[in-house]
Amino acid sequence: MNYKKLLIGPCLMAALAGCHHRPTDAALTDALPPIYPDYTDVTIPADIAPLDFNGAPEAEDLYVVIQGEKGGRLEVSGSPSREDSGPWADIDIEDWHRLTAQNVGADLTVTAYMRYQGRWTQYRSFPIHVSSQPLEDYGLTYRLIPPGYEVGGYIGIYQRDLHSFRQDPILTIDAVPQHCMNCHTALRADPSHFTSHIRGEKGGTLVQIDGHQRWLNTRTPESGSAGSYADWHPGGRYIAYSANVAGQHFFVGPYKPIEVYHRTSHLVVLDTQTDELLLDSLLMQPEVLPIFPAFSAKGNTLYYSVSRYCEMPLEYEKVKCSIVGMAFDAGDDTRRPRFGEQVDTLLNGERDDCSYVLVRPSYDGRWLMYTRCCRSNFPIAQRDADLWMMDLQTRRTWPLEAVNSSETESFHNWSSNSHWFVYASKVEDTMYTRLYLSSITDEGQATKPFLLPQKNPRKFYHALFDAYNVPDFTRQPVELDINEARKKFESGEREVVKAVWVK
């Protein structure tokens, strides 16, 4: 008896049974395929991770043909999925990269077949546009947090390789137990400079420059709070922080669960060379709340949102933020930086009866992206929050209709070459923010966004009980010595910064 044959025979048969061929007797339908996520007609960068997608949950099988306009072709058999996720197209990463690289500036045509009750259906083919604009960054950084109420739960800051599916932790609550952490802010996607703040009893502001890790106490009697929302000056020496006290209240009715707000807020600028916290009287007034700072492309303007002081939570509906700009002169080795004498209002929230927040100028100096919602200085809790764009040359504004939905869109950031942006949206289920990427055309319009690719995406996102927070691009992987970070965190020793009034 040849035992090898006995073993190989069934194995070969099983392998062949699992190896599908393109269905030949499929019934044609004019409908677009019911795939998740909706990748129809999206625009992608060439070397993005494969856009794996699931077929209809009730489909028994899936077969996908991807044809490149400039050549190349992929045929993918559906992988069976446990539970109700539907079969999914598990696209080989190297084949996909080859195909997209071959079709830069052209379209991929995707034809999906799905089998229901033993019969194949061929759906209308749809295009995926491979942009001629590259995405030069390594990936994204973001915070994952359960979108709960007052208890933060398990929180972590992660990085994700956009060219594959790899996700690695940068800093999680395992390293700083029972402490909430703010998001990681890099110098325009350059992870050689980054900052993050850990809240709570042993909290501190982490500033890492070229691998040198420092833990500072950025809370001074003048600022009242430690720095939270941050942005780096393009020179890499200064960090603008908003020092604010956040609060939240909860609705009892059926329509909206939570209102998040900031009771107080100031803007301060940290000089990372002298450890001075630079204060300006215009940014430290008790009757106004400046928040969400962002330096312009050249660093000569400090943009931020500002609202007048409201008694919270009583006047929560009256919080209307404007977007303003203030001149900023970074100075040099002999001269301290200087803030402008006046504030230039770009968008007036009180006049327009809405709130303009989270201003993000593109790094090429062309655009200003921001969030608009009916009220509040914390847009992610507002269902009507949408992304808008301003042309910095003409100051014309318009909504980014391709990315906006009836649910929240917010926390956007630019890629290092300013051709792509990432943002968080609650469009899927009104609660869990997910990340979408889109590109900007020469006219300042957004292309149809695509959900951050995942393997077996329906299963992945359905099983994920965390929300994505404050995403940003990173040119290279972030390197943080976690042992050093933990040691310094646990020691509780914080370098002291000195508040200095500039004017």
């Binding site: 446990r82 539970e83 109700d84 359960p146 709960g148 109420y149 007052e150 208890v151 933060g152 739960g153 398990y154 972590g156 932790p169 800093l171 999680t172 395992d174 390293a175 137990p177 029972q178 209240h249 909860f250 609705f251 009892v252 009715g253 059926p254 329509y255 909206k256 669960p257 209102e259 939570p313 929560y316 899927e428 289920d429 009104t430 609660m431 869990y432 359905h462 099983a463 009980f465 976690i482 042992n483 933990r486």
Partner: protein, 530 residues
Amino acid sequence: MKNKGMYLLYGLLTFGLLYFWHPEIVNYHEQNQLFLWTADYFTNSLALPGGLADWLSEGMVQFGYVPWLGALVLSLLFTLLALATNVWIGVLFWVALLDVYNLISFPVACLLAVAAARAASDIRWIPLSADLLLWPALYWLIGPMAVLYASLRMIRQYQAGTLRAWHPLLYLIYILAIVLILHRMFFPQWPLASAFLGLNYCRAPMLHPSCHWLLPLTVMLAALVRLPRKESRWATLKESSLASRLFLIASAVTSLGVLWSLKDYPAESYEVLRQDMLVRQERWDEVIARAEKHQPQINMSSEYVNLALGMKGQLAARMFQFYQSGPDALIMRSMSDNMSNMASAEAFYRLGMVNSALRYYSDLQESIINRRKSGRLERRIAVCQLANGRTAVARKHLDLLRHSLFYRAEAEELIQNGTNADVQRLQRLRYRTDMLYDYPEIDKMLGLLFVNNPENRLALEYFLGQLLLKGDVQNFMAHLSWAQQYGGYAAMPAGYQDALRTIQSHGQAAGTLYGPYVKKMLSANSSQKP
């Protein structure tokens, strides 16, 4: 097997401990996890050292949904542990069991370590050198309890006369190196101390109670004490009667150390956990009956008893027959732990305050420090989300529950129908208008809830009860007519009559129940003033 009767007795006593004496322990473990019958759940468990022990323990604890079954499964586990070691050590392990912060993965890991050491030593073709591969694998499967395995292996090798003097030192160096490497490579975010003391033996992973090293040490010393006399090439420890006595004394000392940890036996905490279990099981009469005999003097206990009274329609009549902690005796402020707000959450849920229930349940869920989902909380969250019309979010929770053993049926029913009696009740009772929750104004919110739906008698009794707890006499008197009009009482409830007598006599009427409460609150308030 020697002493069959002893082990049987031990098993029966453990069952009695878990089913009759402290059933709340099993309940507490069960409600802080949600074991899923999926491959993903298994592989996710194995992502950290100790994952197999964790997975097995959660698999056992899930049966706690049925109290007798949970007690039976856990008593079998502990009997196996006693069989693998001895009855005395089994008794010592009760100490670990009595502290609900210790996870069942701890005794599971211990049992696996002892069993693995026996198996490896009994199978002749597994030499000590095989531990070069076996130990790292075992460390990953059961966590640092693998050190106990290594110790027992050394002892068995010594017993067999094959141990060389340098083996223990080399083994120790190897263990240190492996743990350091694995920590660096696979779980660097965790503190190094956890890599050596356990990531998942305790509900709070950063805590490492003394019993977590004392108990394995006792197991090891017991193995040393039981060593038979045997010649070996190097001087045997057993040959020295002094060494033998030293081991015996050390075993006794560690045993006493373990027992010493019982000195802080938290009887009142157990009683509150018992109340919580009874409320969960809707055994309202038992909550009241136990409180009639003894009631812990803390706010959670007041809340549980008041809820039970409310559910039995006795709140208006009997509220002040029981201990009332103060204005927080019906609903408590939001707290950040996985227990304190359970009573308030249950009250919100039954009152029909959907969003407040959802908020408290969600915070309780996120307060489970070892990141487990709770079956008890997940089903409540799913129902609240359905009542709010957030079907997609509810579906996420229901799909989790669908893969559990005991929550599956209800989850599938909800997926299929999109509603059930609880969803409909919440939709009927909830607020019609929106406003911000404000704890200091909880009485007004309860009043508005009742106005929204005058059939909500629980809301009416909570509203009037809250006014009494606050000492808001004017509003109580002003709204007492609601009780007459909508309460459905044949006569004015005794509790309200008692409060009226107290109020009308300015607290001078003798024998009232509300009077002493008011005096207590007044004296507490005056003692707080500077």
